[in-house]
Amino acid sequence: MNMAQKENLYAITGLFDSPDAVLHAAEETEKAGYTKFDVHTPYPVHGMDRAMKLKTSKIGLFAFAFGLLGAVCAVLFISWVTIKDYPLVIGGKPFWSWPAFVPVSFEVTVLATSVLSTLAMIVLYFKFPNNAHPLHDTPYMKSISSNRFGIAVQADDPKFDEKEVTGFFKSLGSKEIAPVYFVPADQDMRPALFDPKFLGLLLVIGLTASAATYFTLNKILYLPPFDWMMVQPKLKAQQPSSFFHDGIGMRPPVEGTVARGYMPYPYKGKPEEAGKYLINPLFPTKEVLDRGQQKFLTYCSPCHGNFGRGDSRLQGQFPNPPTLLSDKVRSWPDGSIYHVITEGQNAMPSYASQVSREDRWAIIQYIRALQRAQHAHESDFK
């Protein structure tokens, strides 16, 4: 054996055939004062922890901590959502109805404990993944993973002496004693990490993942059957439809349909009777005048002018709209004006479809106010 190999010695291993033998050997190894040794068994052997004088695993503390973390986070998060960020009233129950938080909090607790403490065990205690350990791919490990039991005393143990350990194992009745060496190159990850092949692989994976993500999010998810409810197969007004024989999407009402709120107008073509029998149901209160002004400015002022003088910008382009302040209009009864708004007159069309009945009466009150403003009584100045 040359010196280089000697420096690379990892451990001396000894194989045993029965659990009793390895348990005894472990006890003796521990008694002999070795500290850096390990027992390898294909399944956990009862009593081995005691024989090796191992302390009870502390993984339970991790489980407790992670469980507590999961529980606290879940309760706080649910409380914040249901009380502060997105409160929903459900059956008049209080927002903080904690019994209903139990199921989700419980599940999150179990999830956090199981996943995080398993990860903690694998990463912190086992230092896994580690496929470069010197024991891998040795005849020793192959026997262990099948049906035999073994002890390995590591070369970095302060009491380690190759000959002494070999003799010690022999005295314990080990059937096969073998040294295990490590390959120094295996222990250094740096060259492997900067290998151009590895970097190339990383690049390919990165590009593939980005391209796949891009196409999934921007293209594939907009192909059928994925629909995002932006296009809906319902008919909107004015849309054509091949379903109806006339090709029109919007349906006319059935013949004889009466529109909601429709009242027949009995004085059609009878302006005198309208003037005679129609009476303004509204009084010139502030509310009525305000409403009349609003409707007047919307519907009447474009032709008749903002103050009813007939001085709108339509002057000269059409037959001039008449003033509403003339003596003729002043002398009309309310019913006549109502009739003109409802039926139209000369160039003026009917405003019945735009202006409701009540609004027409309000407009008339407003016109009366405009007329009064131009022909005020003495008493109005007081």
Partner: protein, 455 residues
Amino acid sequence: MTTIDYTQEPAITIGVVTSAEIDAAISAPLDRFPSRRWWIAFGIALMILSMGLASVTAILFKGLGLMGFNQPVAWAFDITNFVFWVGIGHAGTLISAILFLMRQRWRNAIARFAEAMTIFAVICAGMFVSVAHLGRVWLAGYLLPYPNQHGLWINFISPLVWDVFAVSTYFTVSLVFWYLGLVPDFATLRDRTRNKHKKLAYSILSLGWRFSNRHWSHYERMYLILAGFATPLVLSVHTIVSFDFAVSVLPGWHSTIFPPYFVAGAVFSGFAMVQNVLIGMRKFFKLEKIITLKHLENMNKVMLATGMMVGYAYAVEFFMAWYSGSQFERFVFLNRALGPYAWAYWIMVSCNVLFVQLFWFKKIRTSIPAMFAIGVLVNVGMWFERYVIIVTSLSRDFLPSSWGHFSPTIFDFGVLALGFGLFFTLVLLFVRFLPSVAIAELKGVMENAQPHYHE
């Protein structure tokens, strides 16, 4: 007078099986090219699966209207299948976690397989809710609480949200539990295989496990903790599934007996499924020495016990309907037994309560064809139990004017096929690619596996 020594545990295997024999028997299906019989079984499973996928694809393109559900029966086959498959999963966790805590050593031979079945069954259950029932699968992300530009959160006090958490936690924890158990077995396979690619795969999966006792010490403790958490978890999952019904005010659903009743039913149907599949597997892979008649008999005893719990729940439901004095409750139960779905109700009662009583006889309990047939019947009965609960309650509730009737379409049956096809495809892939018996756990409970302390 003879006394029975109760401290003496029965043998786990037939005859003495050495560790090397265990390795050989369990890794054999992984090493050799799959047999003709495996291909035939896999072909059938794939065929059933593709029938299901075809139906689901049609549903995704055309909409849920292809299925038979309607108003008022808005839940039908999808939710029946979902509850059925979640229930199937429960046997696996019961075997792997609860029997582990009770130190039932016989569980070791069947635990791995049952855990795998749990995972596959939960995948199937998830498929029904997410793919078939939601309609727009691509919006399934809305089920999870994530910060979004709508400023919305999910409603944490809705049982349907609890369900999402329960089933996804159940799946994740089962997967972790299962994988942790597989790690030493991957290490064994890694050292056995001569195939370069398999060696790479097993090395990665084993994480570099080297059977160190310093690791076993933590590993065993972690396994105990996981079993301790999985036990209340498995009880919570079907409890929460039952809340989907019990929290509503529908007669026939609004019942406090639902959680225990559902859990018992879940274990019942789960054991029937494990028993059925194990009977096939031990025959296929010649594992009769490892999965013995004793295992199957024990499972039959569990089925007998849980079957009677389920029967008790049926009786209590009827009693409570009468005792409640509520006209609607009374009507729902009379309607179940005598109404338009009476055929489904009586299939349920006969399969779940009557036939399973045959397991009182040791001869039937230990006869493979008889127990297989009863196992199949139990699963039929348990599927119909969910169907009866869901469909009869929805179809006739308070107002006769809003009553309706559900009859399945071919797409409903297609979706039913999806579950069985997916499940058996996954099971067959599992037995082909992964060790279907926990090698390390089984070695540890063999005769002479533990030290005698120089007795």
